[in-house]
Amino acid sequence: MMSPRDGEYGRGYVMYTPDGRLLQVEYASEAVKYGSPVVAIRGNDFAVMVARTKETDPLLDSVEKIHMIDENIGAAGAGFTGDIHLLIDQARVETQRHRLVFEDPMDVKSVVNHLGKFMYEFTRYGGVRPLGAALIMVGSDLVGKHLYTLDPRGLILSGKAMAIGRNSEDATEVLRAEYKPDLTIKGAIELAMKALSKAEESNSPVEVGIAYGTTFKKMSLEEANKFADDPR
């Protein structure tokens, strides 16, 4: 991973190597690959995300993976929990600030843009550490349903089906092979679960986030399947 020459550029300040790389940022992206995976799919009039709650000690309560940002937006992260929570908190504050000014919920793209700028700034300054977290954001607004991912570089991607975290390449492979533009909510949850299982074998409870109508709702897999039968 690290050549002997990289040494002095790899620590402390975010600094270019002679071949134009930012190692601190690359290391942050590596950290994301240890996070438990999240898979999300956008359909015509909905967007869903699935993730498993973290496997912890049986004595402990499970840790939530999907977070509500506002009534219309939800997000799930992979990477350092503290860094993810910093981003979630930023997004929550920004959406409430928008409500204070406009008395309406914030659109998804503006939230993602805000977080993208926030993350990007950590790649530009010395003395700070780029956030070791990636985020999948799903939501509903005036112009439609949205699915975005964000990475430690501050890169924003919008798409139909995406995955982040451990073995996300495997999950993406499943999505690439089986995604269809006319998926129903039920079909999307099924495909997302298949992709998630490809990335991670686990029996931990599944969390599902669904953007439908004007809201984003968080629920268990059973509730999500019931919701898919009769969305409202």
Binding site: V101, F102, D104, K109, S110, N113, L142
Partner: protein, 197 residues
Amino acid sequence: MTTIVALKCADGVVLASDRRATKGGMIGSKGVKKIYPIDARKAVAIAGQLSDANYLINLVKAEAKLIEFDRGFPLTVKEVAKMLSNMLYSGMRSYAPYITEMLVAGVDETGSQVFEADISGAVTEEDYTSSGSGSPMAYGVLEATYRAGLSTNEGAEIAARAVKSAMERDPGSGNGVQVLKITKNGSELKDIRGVPQ
């Protein structure tokens, strides 16, 4: 001084104004513009201190454009009205109020919308509304003739008639009428100079 009106119609909105600016008891200008487009489907009609209104509109136009670039779709009519009202409210709260009242009308994803924002920053949503010294006369016409489901063409007639009526009895209003029709397909400005019959 001034008479401005704004109407919500089935297929869009209509704004209308007179053209007179007064300086005390004197007519300061006979061809002043009181309806300002914010973007292709939104406009603001103004009453009160012209300089204050122009300042706020320039600010909101710039801010609206920046937000549209950032998020990829334009502000809603309500968002424009709220943005103006936030500035009006902060002016009032800092003892330096913007002496103006504004009618914000347009078409967005939620349909035709009309809002009124006053000097205190209060915003109300309306089907039809009027402001300025001629508004009592304009309201007479609006109360008698406005109904829900008007087309913008019918609305334009009623709006022009309301402003003309005010011009007959209000010395602060006169010198012509401007009517702006906005539908989801765009806008059309009609200009009646002089004293219309």
